[in-house]
């Protein structure tokens, strides 16, 4: 194995691996500070924060170092290479670079959104000088809130790493951002009238290592050290971007992409990033409700759930084949499993179906070329299928129902009077049933809706169960590629609502708490397609369903 010596520590690299000094140092457990380098963007080696000494270990054991400093990001490592990132010379260069970067940087950390997660703060603390020798006035540059609908630029905080410029050129392909002027007067800007509003624009805020590019949505909302983060998965489309949910006191403030090479890579789209506002909508269901003839009978969980169970049993007693249960592709695997079990417990004849799968146009591929057409290689995809877990729910249905019945079939059967009672598990903020189809439900004798927002469907229902948004529960989503990822409970839902899994556990009559890891193991045993969930804990990157071995996968239906 090729070996690189980093600060006297030998590090083995793969024979075909292409790593730079920063990456190999990471492997050795050492940090080489950097600003402009990002593994998904081209190398410009311009910030000069990652300067290291490099050399070569000769076959006779002697080490010959190069006299000059080299940028670690731009220097590929090879067998026998020596990288030193902690010598006096390197430390002096780091100190000098930080002093330069801070010369014209306003020390407005107390009012800067980035404070607490700022590359300049962190590195200044670790590698900086601690005081400035600048006696002259700093450069002042105008703030640019016109830079995008979702982003704003505090120009004088910018350290010109050009990550944002390269992102719009290389990942979104839309090239809105650019450098204007020269030398110390240069600034990030847009062409007049062409703001950075592409669907991936929000990523430049994450890429910005300082507080220059800020999200207008998050601006001045929270100090980041008050935020608590939980790993989750964006439910906006079937790409299933790994994200973190950042909240404080049960108020969600922002979603950030979390790097996951198995899912989406390093980024997320703005649809997902800013698409969570319904979580705090005033239209959230905040209590369960049992209605009869337009009158509310109860709003108490302890009364509504037993009443629901007996109502369903009554319906089945009258006609065992006229009950259907619809599971939304917004439900987690665990919820789908519990609800399917419950449905079959009420009656083995209960029909199971997949809820409405919203599809919006075609998959949106990035980067774009200058004509706005997708260019190869594709680096990011916003999928047309606007739900997080169709594959997971389908796997459950295939096993338990033997087939995947689409929601349109159920609507037809309702219209023909073949179904008289319907239980809909929702989760889609756009509503479990398309507006045009709501009228088709009028023929039902019993409608049960478990959802999170008030909608025309919940208005019709005899039973409404106040469920939870994805950020308020734990479970599993399976993305378009069969990657099963865990979501965690980032915050509590509005008082009176309950996590869907808990509601279903209670309906099913199961004792104990809803615990996703344990349930996953049960599901893995019961559903061969989901055998990979046997690990229980899916880790940060998730588990590919195909990883369980193709032999175990049985074709169903």
């Amino acid at each position: 194995m090729p070996t690189v010596i980093v600060n006297n520590k030998p590090v083995e690299i793969g024979p075909t691996e292409k790593l730079n000094c920063i990456q190999v140092a990471q492997r050795a457990g050492d940090e080489i500070p950097s600003y402009c380098w990002h593994h998904d963007l081209s190398v410009v080696a311009s910030c000069r924060m990652c300067l290291v000494e490099v050399g070569e270990k000769k076959p006779d054991g002697t080490i010959v170092m190069q006299p000059k400093l080299s940028p670690g990001c731009q220097t590929p490592v090879k067998d026998g290479m020596v990288v030193v990132s902690n010598s006096e010379k390197v430390l002096a260069a780091q100190k000098a670079t930080l002093e330069y970067l801070l010369l014209n940087h306003p020390l407005d950390c107390p009012v800067c959104d980035q404070a607490g997660e700022c590359g300049l703060q962190d590195y200044s603390y670790k590698y900086g000088r601690g005081y400035s020798r600048l006696q002259e006035p700093k450069n002042i540059k105008p703030d640019k809130d016109y830079i995008g609908d979702q982003i704003t630029l505090f120009t004088d905080r910018c350290i010109m790493c050009t990550r944002c410029v390269r992102f719009t050129r290389e990942i979104s392909g839309t090239s809105e951002l650019q450098v204007v002027s020269r030398g110390t007067h240069e600034e990030i800007d847009i062409f007049p009238g062409d703001p950075c509003n592409n669907k991936l624009a929000g990523n430049v805020v994450d890429l910005c290592p300082v507080g220059a590019l800020c999200s207008k949505d998050f601006l001045y909302q929270q100090r980041v050290w008050w935020l608590k983060s939980k790993n989750s998965v964006c439910p906006g489309c079937s790409t299933g971007c790994s994200i973190t949910v950042d909240q404080n006191e049960d108020v969600l403030y922002r979603l950030k992409p979390r790097e996951n090479p198995q899912a989406q890579g390093s980024f997320m789209c703005d649809e997902g990033r800013f698409g969570w506002k319904y979580v705090h909508s005033d239209q959230r269901l905040t209590h369960p409700e049992q209605r009869s003839g337009g009158q509310t009978i109860s709003k108490d969980w302890d009364a509504v759930l037993p009443a629901l169970r007996s109502a369903l049993k009554d319906a089945v007693l009258k006609n065992p084949s006229k009950l259907a249960v619809v599971i939304s592709p917004w439900a987690t695997v665990e919820e789908a499993y519990l609800l399917a079990k419950f449905a079959k417990q009420i009656s083995p004849n209960t029909r199971l179906a997949l809820g409405q799968v919203r599809v919006d146009g075609e998959d949106d591929l990035y980067p774009k070329d200058i004509h706005g057409k997708p260019a190869l290689p594709t680096k990011f995809t916003i999928r047309a299928e606007k739900c997080p877990n169709r594959r997971g729910v389908e796997a459950v249905l295939k096993q338990i129902e033997g087939k995947v019945v689409p929601f349109s079939t159920i609507l037809d059967q309702v219209g023909r009077g073949e179904i008289e009672s319907l239980f809909i598990l929702g989760g889609d903020p756009e509503g479990a049933v398309a507006a045009a189809d709501v009228g088709k439900l009028d023929k039902l004798k019993l409608l049960v809706v478990q959802d999170l927002l008030v909608s025309p469907v919940t208005a019709k229902a005899q039973f409404v169960l106040a469920g939870s948004a994805w950020a308020e529960k734990e479970g599993t989503f399976v993305n378009h590629a069969g990657l099963a990822q865990a979501i965690y409970r980032g915050l509590r839902g509005p008082e009176g609502s309950r996590p869907d899994g808990r509601i279903l556990m209670e309906l099913l009559g199961r004792s104990g708490l809803f615990h996703a890891s344990t349930l996953r193991q049960e599901i893995a045993g019961a559903i061969p397609e989901l055998a990979a969930l046997i690990v229980g804990d899916l880790g940060e990157d998730g588990v590919l369903l195909s990883a369980a071995g193709k032999a175990e996968l049985q074709p169903v239906g």
Binding site: R48, K68, A96, T97, L103, N139, G183, H185, E186
Partner: protein, 444 residues
Amino acid sequence: MSTFEPTLLARVGKPESQSLETYRRDGGYEGFKKALGMAPVDVVNLVKDSGLRGRGGAGFPTGLKWTFLPKDHPGPIYLAINADESEPATFNNRILMEEDPHQVLEGIAISCHAIKSNKAYLYLRYEYGRSYRVLQKAIDECYAAGLFGKNIHGSGFDLDVVLHRGAAAYICGEETGLIESLEGKRAWPRIKPPFPAIEGLFRKPTIVNNIETMACVKQILDRGVDWFKSMGVPPDPKNPRDPGSYGPKLYCISGHVNKPGCVELPMGITSRQLIDEYGGGVWKGRKAKAVVPGGISMGFLSADELDLPLDFNGPGKAGCLGLGTAAITVIDDQTSMVDVLFNCARFFAHESCGQCTPCREGTAWIHKILARIRMGEGQPRDLDLLSEVAGSMGIIPGTTICGLSDGAAWPIKNAIKKFRPEFEEYIKTGRKTVKSVDALMEVH
């Protein structure tokens, strides 16, 4: 020296020196014809044997640079001519382009044949309007006369020459900055390697040469290697890496002299000779306090270093960065070095491309510190700070991508080292030469 016959400037000043007709009458394009009869590799070897070193400033051996091109490359290979003559006080290329454009174009044609390139881009600095018009006219003449275009002289060799006018930036004289600019991008120098000879313009192998180098190539074809090597300075026997400094060189003389101008002389003349014999002496009967040996980015020679030969090695012996463009600027003894240095710093702060942090911020900081000193608010410790900042930027310490920063730092380091007492005196007396700092910080 009086017996020296100029060759590069031989036609300058003659009537109609720009026209193809007079150029041909003087034997023009015979060298090109001769080169077309030779195998390209023989032309490369000829230039290599001549010891010609690039006239742009760094002095890299031209023939050796040509051999760095990949062997048997399917093409295209490009020749980019650096006519972004933006080093302050340098105007030798301008004289060649304005007065004898065909000499330059012939050199380009010969070089293209040698490196098997069918396309040359002549990158001309924006400010040279007259050069642009003269060159374009000369190029048109060449196309009309069948000297450029398809199948020249029935040799099967095609050549297109494109005259490209830059948009006025010092950094476009850096070879990869020039290439980026030619591609229509912001002139931010590229990371090397890969060097342009491997991957340059439009990601194809590219040779970047200076205008004066092209003229020298033409003269070498005409007059031969022995003529070229008959003048100049042979290699320093103590320095095995020194290839020597041969051939004629255009020296520009400016600053505080009676007779500024451009003269052609064999390599290795001294600054004192240039001032006294060709520049008409220091003006107003004063003495030279310092001389910039070759563009301000090379640093300063002090009054007692004026007898160093101005070959590629000479100025380096006095702590200068190198010969540079061989454009001397004379500074008389009545001039404050603080003012001179401030002017240098202002230039580099304005021209730093802004890509690498140390140069972008360092050049501007140096400018600010010197402005403050000129405001009478300097402190003794500022001199060490200036030296430290200057010492931390450039490709020599390895902190930047290109050499602009070294050039920006060198005059600072040089001046403070060689004229430190003057700076200290200036700071101590609190001399205030300017009233408002705003006036000083006006860069644009």
